[in-house]
Symmetry: D2
Subunit: 128 residues, 4 copies
């Protein structure tokens, strides 16, 4: 098991009224998700195949929030407190399944993201 | 702009040959994604509605990797280097769109995840 | 407007206790769906973009039925009356949106299906 | 096995230059799909669980066509021959998987559609 201990110093701009943690401890979350599943004896359901299905179901629940909105209405969603909260729930749902898929298949999330950003930069060169 | 500086000490088990960063700097990634889009003049395409559609498209590309696999084959995906790498790419694709959706709609990812974990604990009490 | 009048004779095997219509009148369904939407003044929401989003949302609701099932359990779904009925509802939901998407974009469903079957036969030749 | 034989007379409006068949023989299509799979020894892959995954993958490929379009651009898709043809392919792809899911789970498509239309009429009464 790996544990990373970080002492973090926040340097914040003057406009901020409070300090918040910008980093997401993905390994800690994965551990909490494993414990949550183990407490409920859910492990046998958590094959990568099933987790992928559950993830796309949550992804579609996020899409559903916007399905009848105009593009402009979607940009203004933060002004609708209930829908904004619901959006946060669906984003979290998809993210939690991604974390579990990565955990159960040995994918290093941070490395995968960096690799993808590099691939995207090659695939979509900036026009001159 | 917020910047978090962390000095991290890795405490690793004997079986690991390298240290990796467990934290994901989501705000830094969101900034890089904004810059990537701005350099290519993509901003007008990036409404939350469109980003939600692009996100579910990537979610389905992740599902596609497993669609004909048995549950057991899905558990063994790490032994297939090409598929494992492809899985990492699709996980990253979905994650990058989630980061952009959160960024464009003012959703605090870390807070949304904590709230969802709390809601899940209430929704699925541990059986006694 | 096109109208097709068919006089149909059912030739059924001895094991059947009732005759059912095997043909689906897709144009009549599309007309009924247009009327349903018009009566409720829904037309402004029914852009192909929105209908595509609504369709994938229903597709994921169908996936959700099977997400925690084993392959064998999915094959036995007809023995669970409630789930079987729910499956029928989700299949219908996706199909109704496909009909609307085709209707709103001028896609001839029957022709598109025939073309795809021909393309599939070329793409997946039978092994000798 | 059921077979329906229909003698159809087309009554078409003056604006049409050709007669086309409006009915879709869903049972015949399901038979052709079974034969296609059997010729390629694909049956073991075709559990309802897998077919549901394949179906949502195609549904997302349909969404992908529209993901960066404005609502207006999506309404004009018929004027873009390549994209229009691609849309027809994806509509057919989803439909073919729906037919296979129904076939493998004993769902009567025509009955399911009628039931859903009735349920929708109750769920969304016309406002007075």
């Amino acid at each position: 098991m790996r544990q990373i201990f970080c002492v973090c110093t926040a340097r914040v701009g003057a406009s901020l009224s409070h300090a918040t943690l910008a980093a997401m401890d993905t390994e800690k979350l994965q551990l909490r998700l494993r414990e949550f599943a183990a407490e409920r004896q859910w492990q046998r359901y958590q094959t990568p195949k099933n987790l992928a299905m559950a993830m796309v179901v949550e992804a579609a629940e996020l899409v559903e929030i916007f399905q009848w909105m105009t593009p402009e209405e979607s940009q203004a969603i933060a002004s609708d407190a209930d829908r904004h909260q619901h959006l946060g729930e669906e984003i979290a749902d998809v993210l939690l399944y991604l974390l579990q898929i990565a955990d159960h298949t040995g994918v290093d999330l941070v490395a995968a993201v960096e690799r993808k950003l590099a691939l995207n930069a090659l695939k979509y060169p900036v026009a001159r």
